[in-house]
Symmetry: D2
Subunit: 466 residues, 4 copies
Amino acid sequence: MKRDIKICYIGGGSKLWARVFMSDLAVAEGLSGEMALYDIDREAAERNAKIGVRINENPNTKSKLEYKVYDKLEDALSGATFVLLSILPGTFKEMRSDVHTPEKYGIYQSVGDTAGPGGVLRAMRTVPIYEDFAKKIKEICPDAWVINFTNPMSICIKVLYDVFPEIKAFGCCHEVFHAQKLLTVMLKELRGIDVHRSQIYTDACGVNHFTWITRARYEDIDLLALVPEFAEKFGEEGYYEEGDDRFAFETNPFAYGNKVKIDLFEKYGALAAAGDRHLAEFLPNKWYLKDPETVKAWKFGLTTVDYREADQAQKIADTIEMAEGRKEFEVVKSDEEAVELMKALLGGGTVVSNVNMPNRGQMPQMPLGSIVETNCVFSNDTVSPVVSRPLPTGASNLVYRCCVNIDNTYLGIKERDLDKIYQAFVNQALCNSLSMEESKELFREMCLNTREYLDPYYDLDTYFGC
Amino acid sequence: MKRDIKICYIGGGSKLWARVFMSDLAVAEGLSGEMALYDIDREAAERNAKIGVRINENPNTKSKLEYKVYDKLEDALSGATFVLLSILPGTFKEMRSDVHTPEKYGIYQSVGDTAGPGGVLRAMRTVPIYEDFAKKIKEICPDAWVINFTNPMSICIKVLYDVFPEIKAFGCCHEVFHAQKLLTVMLKELRGIDVHRSQIYTDACGVNHFTWITRARYEDIDLLALVPEFAEKFGEEGYYEEGDDRFAFETNPFAYGNKVKIDLFEKYGALAAAGDRHLAEFLPNKWYLKDPETVKAWKFGLTTVDYREADQAQKIADTIEMAEGRKEFEVVKSDEEAVELMKALLGGGTVVSNVNMPNRGQMPQMPLGSIVETNCVFSNDTVSPVVSRPLPTGASNLVYRCCVNIDNTYLGIKERDLDKIYQAFVNQALCNSLSMEESKELFREMCLNTREYLDPYYDLDTYFGC
Amino acid sequence: MKRDIKICYIGGGSKLWARVFMSDLAVAEGLSGEMALYDIDREAAERNAKIGVRINENPNTKSKLEYKVYDKLEDALSGATFVLLSILPGTFKEMRSDVHTPEKYGIYQSVGDTAGPGGVLRAMRTVPIYEDFAKKIKEICPDAWVINFTNPMSICIKVLYDVFPEIKAFGCCHEVFHAQKLLTVMLKELRGIDVHRSQIYTDACGVNHFTWITRARYEDIDLLALVPEFAEKFGEEGYYEEGDDRFAFETNPFAYGNKVKIDLFEKYGALAAAGDRHLAEFLPNKWYLKDPETVKAWKFGLTTVDYREADQAQKIADTIEMAEGRKEFEVVKSDEEAVELMKALLGGGTVVSNVNMPNRGQMPQMPLGSIVETNCVFSNDTVSPVVSRPLPTGASNLVYRCCVNIDNTYLGIKERDLDKIYQAFVNQALCNSLSMEESKELFREMCLNTREYLDPYYDLDTYFGC
Amino acid sequence: MKRDIKICYIGGGSKLWARVFMSDLAVAEGLSGEMALYDIDREAAERNAKIGVRINENPNTKSKLEYKVYDKLEDALSGATFVLLSILPGTFKEMRSDVHTPEKYGIYQSVGDTAGPGGVLRAMRTVPIYEDFAKKIKEICPDAWVINFTNPMSICIKVLYDVFPEIKAFGCCHEVFHAQKLLTVMLKELRGIDVHRSQIYTDACGVNHFTWITRARYEDIDLLALVPEFAEKFGEEGYYEEGDDRFAFETNPFAYGNKVKIDLFEKYGALAAAGDRHLAEFLPNKWYLKDPETVKAWKFGLTTVDYREADQAQKIADTIEMAEGRKEFEVVKSDEEAVELMKALLGGGTVVSNVNMPNRGQMPQMPLGSIVETNCVFSNDTVSPVVSRPLPTGASNLVYRCCVNIDNTYLGIKERDLDKIYQAFVNQALCNSLSMEESKELFREMCLNTREYLDPYYDLDTYFGC
């Protein structure tokens, strides 16, 4: 296994996630080298560097990396073995428009960063940034492995491969892990068997945040066959699988009771494998997101940007506390898998996990080149997608439509063609209950709200006749 | 050219269309043989036979066929050179449910026989009938050419080829002709050039009733380039291309002002080539069918079943008058093309026209095996689809979704699987603004309303918990 | 119909074919404008211009064009409505190597310009020339229709579309016409019915010079069903369908007795639709081209380059005689179809004929983008391929292999990669009986023989270690 | 992990391989249950049962299975968890014809059981037997995992899936392991690093016995990049990677010096991953199998059936000695992987290995449904193919042709259509240097030689005009 590495971490300055990742690295054995931190908010990167110093002092730490903050992206990329991308495209101001402007038109979004009107607008801000990333990686570190965590995930991966087809990139997302966790909960609640999700085999496929588990087994037990029994017992009240409180969705807007998932299982015969708040956004808005009451009845929440802002402020404060040694934190292995995938790529064994990559045959029912999430085999400097079991027809059609929407959103943005973007916008499942006047007006309003990020690429005044 | 033929005409007893077709045959040169009439309403077939006698007496008639009414379908099929299918699946009672029940849920349908909830229910009645046709044709007259006029067109063709893959069948529809007519009107109004639609070349493709013209030329003139100018001049008030009164849509529910077509042209860059009342049903219901006022503003109409019933009664009365010699009618060539296609198949030259057939490559962007409408070359005993020009991306996605909906509707019905049919039902563009409770309830109500035709195939009581 | 046109005719200076084409144009009604003649051998172009003057004086001439000779290709192309490409890539010296060098290795070629070692070498000379044509057409007359007559046909069309994907190009070849003619001969000999080939409908598909007729009808008669009877009666002695002498193959190396065609029909169940001398080159060399005796037994000939040279000298002499008025010639409609296709493209009606174009779905079994020959519909400024009937499996595999060979030959030449070209070279059916040493040596010898045309693109000395 | 199993082992009575497999099972931990032995030669099965008893007495044995011999295949299959297929289709008499009859026509075969004329004839005997297996498995133990070891491998898997599409079957072959072993030898010889093949990651794909490694890495080292250096050093003299004697090919007809492999690497840029004696049979016969001298120069051998017969007699004698306790044998883990794959399927972890399965997308360049060999992920009751890296174009074409040949051989046999089988026969690379008379005569002779196995399915007398 290669051991001396340089990780270039772009963004990640505003989230606890960086610390989790850094801890996972620290407890891995036998790594050394540099963690190059770059964030357009330099202070954020510096906070992470300080956390890095703390981690290196921790007794659990086995791999010490040198944490360095860079002023220039190019320097951070230079010589990188891995490039991690974890940015916020725009600010909370733009996110506020993405999430809340559609509410005036009766379109509620529980997340607003992937599918639906919010996802399209966020994609419009993201694509130019990622075009730049892809060009720089091609030029500076074409051999680096690029791991994306930014949303909209599929669009990010699409840009990277479109600009630099030989790129070695994939996208990691932990939503499927939650569904695997839910399956272990079922096993515990219904059969009294206590296992970690890594002990069950699942075949998952779809597009990011709208992935489906088509097969899941533990020993002799077909776990999907447990779903109806689980639904019978816990489906009414809901069950959140993370943490101790299965009713967390009553207080925590990131939690959910899995009722949407169970309903979709009954309809389509496969287990949708992402948080309910993500799943709902890929379906007609009258289904699970009709209005706040409907959302509540389905036991999930509408994450407001106010909440996000407060939440992030708290996380930054925590990070400062930790960075300055006033707050303890543990250096232990998390449930994330990125570091394990990295080790496999460095030659440290073979791992199978689900990530996002261009479809080269792994989902034969979907368009080639669309970004799909499936199991992949990670091995020495290689990621190979695993051909997934076909989805049931009904679910397959839903996913196909998502692929088409993502591909066309990207195509329109790539060509800076507002007509094409608008065609993809109205074709979002969440937008299908709007009249044409409404959808036009909503698109206009959302574009103008976020024009600071769009003006360099589009002539909005002419297009919208301002 | 083969001249001595037997045409087996199934249905067609309740419409003037049979007379038009019989007149077209009569004025064709050099045909002889038999027209075998079969209708489950024997009286209707007999009316047509009497019309046939009148036609044979007409001085314009060049080809005299012997008109015979049959009691048994098998006998009518025996020895057939051509089989014409033109039936009503169910009665006005069922049609009333198809068209008007969804209105209670805010779903207005201008036709209700193709896409949308009405189309799905009508398909459920049609498939078993066509399975029987296909089996009998396979057994009795496997070499006959089968021409379908029944709606839902795509489903009918799908059944025929699925049950009997070697069948020689295609589906004829005159909707594209209207769009060609509209193009000639543009040429007349804007350039002062007066031509028949047969003088312009068009490349049309899509699914039946949602077909698009991607190219249209007369001499040096690109006709699609005229659309914006036409829209400017006549788009506001509307323009119905048939007959003398361009405002016919104000009084005639079958007429329309082409405003939907023009709006789609502006959005998608190709000319949707079916009546506006058909087109609207393939799109989200808030676009053109939101409510009766919206429909009126778009200059088309909601055809009520009351109107249809009265209209048909009048047509039958007319037919009786004609059959009994009390009402004159002309024996002249109409604007329909079926007889010309038949002559080409008999070896009388080569004709290019648009018909519905399984996709074997003629629309490479659509699923193979889906029923698509494109130009085809008709020649001696052969129909060969012509590869169509690719649709603009946005329109292509809309059509793809239709293909998927049709294929899945058929699959569910073929397997008599109400869950799968319901999945296709909720995936109709017209249904995308319904909540799940509403769509479930609507599906239930429509099934129970028409159960007389469904009970032999489904256990509705168990499924709907009656 | 558009009438005032400019035809840019590139090459064609050394063949009688130019005169035939010019006569066909002359007897067409209602055309006017210019014929721009360009040939790297300016004298040849001038001869054709003089022939043009003679034609314009002829009483049969209805359409008089102005014949002008150009010094610069760019000027000839400027403003062109049509561009005709009919060149010889290289000289007889290179052709001599293409055709005869392989004979030293036991590889006999009857034509040597399409498949087999000669075809590959000729392709190596042709591609750079056509790359230049495509670039100039793109720049100077992107809207012109480009009609190719040069061999290797498939490679020529491939280059044009690869360099300029929006080009409006197709390739015309009369080989299928001969097979249609043969079918009319069968009808005459076996059934006493005398018709022109245009009266029978055929469905032909494949790659140029290896096209197959899968269906052919006249009135009620299935013409392919006549082949065994014809084989029984005339198959032993052979039958050449052109002209009065069915034994012409005994004296004329361009003639053939159709025994290969009949043999392939027995093996594969479809009628190979090109001259036997072409067909034989697509099959293992031990089948029909094992040695001169085998060729003779199969009733076709090995066209030597000596013969070709003498033949061309005679044709040039004839042309001079005609140009200078010392020899009479008729101005009448020939059996070629190019002018009819051009008229259709100018808006003068719809014509169906077989030409070579990139596969967009017309042969769903073949790779998309391969150049295939199928029926196409010619209409106002449009050529649309017709989906062909599937070939019988065995024939389909043979054609597939040709597509792959052509695509890979082109790919190697495009990349100027001798390794890849050699891989395509050894994969030719004619080369499959060579040992590796032989095929390497043959490839080397053929490249070096024709290095005058290859040196600008390849470093042959290094590659072959000279 | 499921532990109590029934393994139904069909055939395997004449080879040492059964003992190796039984030993691997014995040293695996935690298995119990039954090994049901069935062989048309009951004595052979009984010998294996006795070996089983010996194994159970061995101190290394951790898993004791009950060995039972069955008279009826149906009983052996009943209740099976696994079905192992390892038969000889026909006897040495037929094999003698397969291998040696073509030599009269200049076609030498080094194995004669996969590609080439021998492979086709062997397939003709195999298909009916496997049709029967597939039907019985479908009826008796549809949930069993079926592991095939019989050749022709691709044909066997093709039959199983064609007759019973839901079958859970794959084909195991150790040829790729040898190529992996060769890579470890290169690492040792050139870099002094000593590793087991399981420590290197390889991406292999192709068809059985014509598989290619497109990527192979150990730590930081690209192993394919070592090939030229290895070729330089050992390529001239040859290097057999198994055992201590790298010149084993001089005495052992199953050994080979890897010169073919190295030559193909130079030509096509990927490492062909099967024994040279297999590889040579997929290529034109003049390349490596021109005559016995050529074979010798390429450092491999023509395995005669005399040798095979003697070799098997010796193996049977050995088996008897072992079964009766007169000869010692070791119960240790072999280098085969079947037992590890079985354990993974029983829920004992995840394993990646290369096996043969229908192409569902794992080789997007090959026809869907063709049997391809690629890496697959083995996990709890699931085998999922891994999408392979694309082959270099030249190699891809060679493999594609193999897929087509296999598919068509199967199609012809399935339809009992000698014409179609003959079309596939002449399309074998090894047959491409035959004249038509020769190939017809060879086919006839080989069919008649083995008619005992063909007469139930074909009317050879009529076909060959005996």
